[in-house]
Symmetry: C2
Subunit: 362 residues, 2 copies
């Protein structure tokens, strides 16, 4: 029996134990082939089934039709920060970006290297503690696209409404909240996310793109940077990260098996309510860093009364079997990441631990 | 006991069983952390040890000092086809390329999208059955670099000498023969290769680059496309494909455990001698497609007297426990891939099978 901790890492992060057990059981012989899944050809019927299933499950869970292309690319969201402007911000048209902290700041930086970005809104004025109001955004009607980061892993904020501007395709980096609750994915022209939070191991970036946007890709880019290459070849233009895609497919099956996004949302809501409930009970001890109306369901960030207490909580938690509670190195503090694979039990137990810690250390 | 076949796939390809068993054993709990290796943070001491070991082992096996940067990137060799010209073919200086078939042709295609390539040599005149002679190459002394593909998976050819042109940095795509024998890696300014043949699963591309070349990277590219980003951050600028890098590190340890490249070379030499020996014994039946002086040690390509026999051999072989013998879809025929992880026993047994097949089907 393998020892397992409650793992609150922000990414790479905890995965469903049932998925890991399947990977383990099939590792030397993938379903009677006599090969590991990582030893089979990406042109084989076995991998084709994995790839097709992963694409179909993505569409099914998102409630999208086949006007959306599903791609499993590489280079993480960080590569998308460059691919989006080189494909879509052509002919002098810029993308509009909302800056909600580290990751959107990075996306804007890359766009500026590649011809410029229009700043549609920002919460930098208050250390990115909130999501700007949609009514306050400045999105020119001729913008190439509007780019948002739906969940901000480091700052602990999340968009709870979808900004819509007629004629402006909406592009979202959903790396840290993809498939965590029900939203209208059909409002987005492009959704992308590194797999390493809600989808699987690191090593692939899911890109879901409406065909209308795909057709706007600029000509003249290298093959690997043109989304049309990957859409046409179903991510098999070159050798894909097949082991990673296989695990992503198992995670998608696991999400479906939980009851899809309706069920996942219900559990995620309960999990975040437990932690935020504790913080609201003791607001002078567990001091949330995000404004209440912008709180993330996925990454709950807080400061304790002082740094020594933070260090002690992280150390005591580790000893008690709760890992990954340290805030991002750029902001410090405590962060409780509650991705899909974290159980309700894990949230309950860490909350009980934190409450007890407060009693002992006040 | 898992069923295992002899897997002659050209990539993704067979991996050492000992490595797969370690992955399997550690899959739910990586060395007492209570987490799978794919669930741990890429900023943790555990992953840092994996990454540092993989870099150090690469240098050790190649006999290189720390003037060489070792990077584990993503996007495969196909992404390098674009990154090389955008970083090094600046200021009107072009790269010189030798075209030895499919993969070098693709590298040239991407260079042409990005400002042009100088054709230093080609074996297209004879269906890429040979490697051009070094004396016949046309490499202008002001070339930004010289690019070669050391082993040609599809055409079954391999460079057996290293081209050296004073003042012209040598860049090699070694995807399909990296770490398969002793060569003077110090003659190369840059070595790169997709992991999925000799190094591990697909999903990472090893890039080894001398610091002199690194310093020539052109300014103004997006962060992810500038090698200096990755060299400075030891491949951790963004979340790396950590599961894949972990397995690559285990494969590097396995190579070292075999006795390093001297021992691996000896085995690989014996393996290819067995198959080419059979072909030379029956040259009208097992008709090699590569010229003798250009034969690959890694991918042995041949045609049988007719296509029906080829189909029958592939089917009979599969039934007898030998997989992956079908030639690339672009050329047909039979291909015996003999990467490091294929055992001497596998080469002996498939040769015996082939000889028996000839006796029965002549």
């Amino acid at each position: 029996m393998a020892k397992r901790i409650f793992n609150f890492n922000a990414g790479p992060s905890t995965l469903p134990l049932d998925v890991l057990k399947i990977v383990q059981n099939e590792l030397l012989d993938y379903r009677g082939t006599g090969m590991s899944v990582m030893e089979i050809s990406h042109r084989s019927p076995e991998f084709d089934e994995i790839n097709e299933s992963a694409m179909a499950l993505t569409r099914e869970l998102m409630g999208l039709d086949d006007k959306y292309h599903v791609m499993f690319l590489t280079g993480g969201a960080s590569t998308q920060f460059a691919l989006i402007p080189i494909n879509f911000a052509a002919d002098g048209k810029k993308g509009a970006y909302v800056d909600t902290g580290t990751w959107s700041t990075k996306a804007i930086k890359e766009a500026n290297i590649l011809g410029g970005a229009h700043l549609a809104g920002s919460s930098k004025d208050n250390e990115y503690r909130y999501i700007p109001k949609i009514a306050d955004l400045d999105v020119p009607s001729d913008s190439a696209f509007l780019h948002i980061t739906t969940n901000n892993t480091i700052k602990g904020t999340q968009w709870h409404e979808t900004p819509e501007f007629a004629g402006v395709p909406l592009i979202a980096d959903m790396s840290s909240d993809i498939l965590s609750r029900q939203i209208d994915f059909g409002k987005y022209a492009m959704i992308y996310g590194g797999a390493q939070k809600n989808l699987g191991p690191s090593g692939t970036c899911l890109v879901v793109m409406h065909d209308d946007l795909l057709q706007k890709c600029k000509d003249g880019n290298p093959s690997m940077w043109d989304y049309r290459t990957h859409a046409a070849k179903k991510s098999l233009y070159n050798t894909p990260p097949s082991l990673t895609i296989y695990i992503v497919k198992l995670v998608l099956e696991w999400i479906k098996g939980q009851g899809g996004l309706a069920a996942v949302e219900k559990t995620n809501q309960s999990k975040k309510d437990i932690i935020y409930g504790l913080m609201d009970q003791y607001p002078d001890y567990f001091k949330g860093t995000a404004k209440k109306d912008s709180r993330s369901w996925m990454n709950i960030t807080m400061r304790l009364p002082n740094e020594d207490l933070e260090k002690k909580l992280i150390a005591d938690a580790k000893a008690a079997g709760f890992g990954g509670l340290k805030g991002h190195r750029s902001v410090g503090g405590i962060r409780v990441s509650l991705y899909n694979a974290m159980s309700l039990e894990g949230a309950q137990k860490v909350a009980a631990f934190m409450e007890e810690f407060k009693k002992v250390n006040s």
